[in-house]
């Protein structure tokens, strides 16, 4: 709110009508009764990484650990007219927490919920924002990717949804961004530029760039500290990294790990890992080695990476299957 007061001219400031009923209830002492404290989701801690850009940092935990629903960086960007949420976390609980944090900082409507890709830790909180009636935006391939994942999510992550968990809680994009020119979303006085990428980390990666502050949300095209997961195409990802490194940014918010100000430096360890993975598997293939040999012998430097043992072998298997048809 301090950001809004400082930078938004009075005629662009939000009208408070939307909040009036809640305010009136509070005055009457009824709001607390209507929403007991135990039901009110605790606001997630968020950091303002740039004016009007708020990020909740995901925890460095495995996908099966308690707290696995809160491992991705998620956030929101506040414009003069409305707010865009960028990823919603891995559960209703996390989505609710993000929404509560948002409401502590802005009363503006949520006009967009942007998903950077299909993975569970970025999308399962979408349903928490249903009542805000945002437009759900993602890569043009996101709707199909979600359709493909819905059963898997329901079987494996039902406890992270609102009981009883149903497919309708797993909300897909109703607007798709095609690979090609950037698409701009206007939040009132500030624009977000969305870019859809060819197959890389996943088959539906989308990055979000806030022009006002030069902040780039990379989604999982950038992992900092946590072992990168190859679920799309290693070749696509290496090439996307090269393009990303050329984007002039002032702030970078990775999909996992600490935000920073130097994109090239943040990308470097991931680029080293992906290059070593690519070259290692290519060498195995050139020698006519089977998959099990590649799984055993492709061993890039793991010292810098969290969850390496859980993640790296699957990467080798995926990359092997991608490259064997080169």
């Amino acid at each position: 709110m301090s950001y809004l007061r400082r930078t938004v001219p009075p005629w662009l400031r939000p009208r408070r009508a939307a909040c009036a009923p809640r305010a009136a209830l509070a005055l009457l002492g009824l709001w607390a009764a209507a929403a007991p404290a135990t039901d009110a989701p605790a606001a997630l801690p968020v950091t303002q990484v740039a004016p009007g850009v708020f990020v909740h940092l995901g925890k460095p935990l495995g996908l099966d650990a308690p707290g696995h629903d809160d491992i991705a960086n998620i956030g929101f960007v506040v414009g003069a007219r409305c707010v865009a949420v960028i990823d919603s976390g891995g559960s209703m609980r996390v989505g609710d927490g993000l929404r509560a944090a948002l409401r502590q900082r802005s009363p503006l409507p949520v006009c967009y919920l942007i998903n950077t890709h299909v993975h569970v830790d970025h999308v399962l909180g979408n349903a928490a924002f249903r009542d805000e009636h945002p437009q759900f935006v993602g890569h043009a391939g996101l709707a199909a990717a979600l359709a493909r994942s819905r059963d898997f999510f329901l079987q494996n992550y039902a406890a992270d949804l609102e009981a009883p968990a149903t497919a309708t809680e797993i909300i897909g994009a109703d607007r798709g961004v095609e690979v090609g020119p950037d698409v701009a979303l206007d939040l009132g006085g500030r624009r977000l530029k969305l870019r859809a990428w060819p197959k890389a980390h996943s088959d539906c990666d989308l990055t979000v760039y806030d022009e006002a502050t030069g902040t780039l949300f990379t989604g999982d095209l950038l992992f900092v500290g946590r072992t990168p997961v190859v679920d799309g195409s290693i070749k696509g990802w290496v090439s996307a990294d090269e393009s990303l490194a050329a984007v002039p940014v002032k702030h970078v918010v990775p999909g996992h790990g600490a935000p920073g100000t130097d994109l090239a430096a943040a990308l470097a360890p991931q680029q080293r890992y992906l290059d070593a993975l690519l070259e290692g598997v290519r060498t195995q293939l050139a020698l006519g080695k089977p998959l099990q040999d590649a799984l055993r012998d492709v061993q890039p430097d793991k010292s810098a990476w969290l969850l390496f043992e859980q993640t790296h072998p699957r990467n080798v298997a995926r990359v092997y299957q991608e490259l064997e048809w080169e």
Partner: protein, 269 residues
Amino acid sequence: MTRRHIGKPPPRTAALLAVLSVLAAAASADTQQSPANGAWQYMRAQLYGTRDISEVGDETMSIEAPGSTPDPSATPVALHFGGDLEGKVKQVRVIIDNNPSPLVTIMDLKPGLPVQEIDLRVRIDRYTSVRAVAETTDGHLEMRSTWVNASGGCSTPPSATEGGTLGQIRFRPSADAKALQISIRHPNNSGFQIDPRTGDPIPPHFVSHIRVSSGGETLMEADTGISLSENPTLRIASHAPLRSPLTVEATDVPTQERYTATWTAGSTK
């Protein structure tokens, strides 16, 4: 080794499919946490009756698979033959007890063929024993098994790297030409996958038979099915360089289309 099948499913493929569906019912009845061998006891009776099956030592035969597979839809399984068995294996069956289609393959080898290693890539649906039973030229049955922990390998949607030309065959020899990996570009749809765009089940569409021959002589014939991974892959290794040129012929179900390609030493395509 002379069975041929032009135009209609080979009798043994039909038999294999029939056995598979019965076995699937048996396997799905098993709901225990650990890879219980109830499904195997049933299949053992179906496949081998009351014949003795001995479990041999590593030096004779071994089976290797990752205990916790990094990719349930493409898990490497390696069979090694040595000592007494080398050149004496005439048939190998690979069985994944708890898969909906447990019988992965029946491979007939030319008697005397000095195969030391056979590698496959398989789908694994849940925690299971993976076993290989070798029948020797003198009629003995030898078995080895291992456990694999996995989930959902048979229903994994077609991978993000799918594409290419259906039926394209790729050869990948080792530097010394003693090992050759044969990969067939094919979705090998299991029938348990869902089309992400329509939400409908994808019908089974798989490679049912792979024949490897050289100079008109069959070296290996394999009946295969939906437990092989997408882009079915078979690798054979010997202690001597493989005979070249070597021809691979793969049969598609349901189209009965044949895909063939020939590898000549020194070439990879």
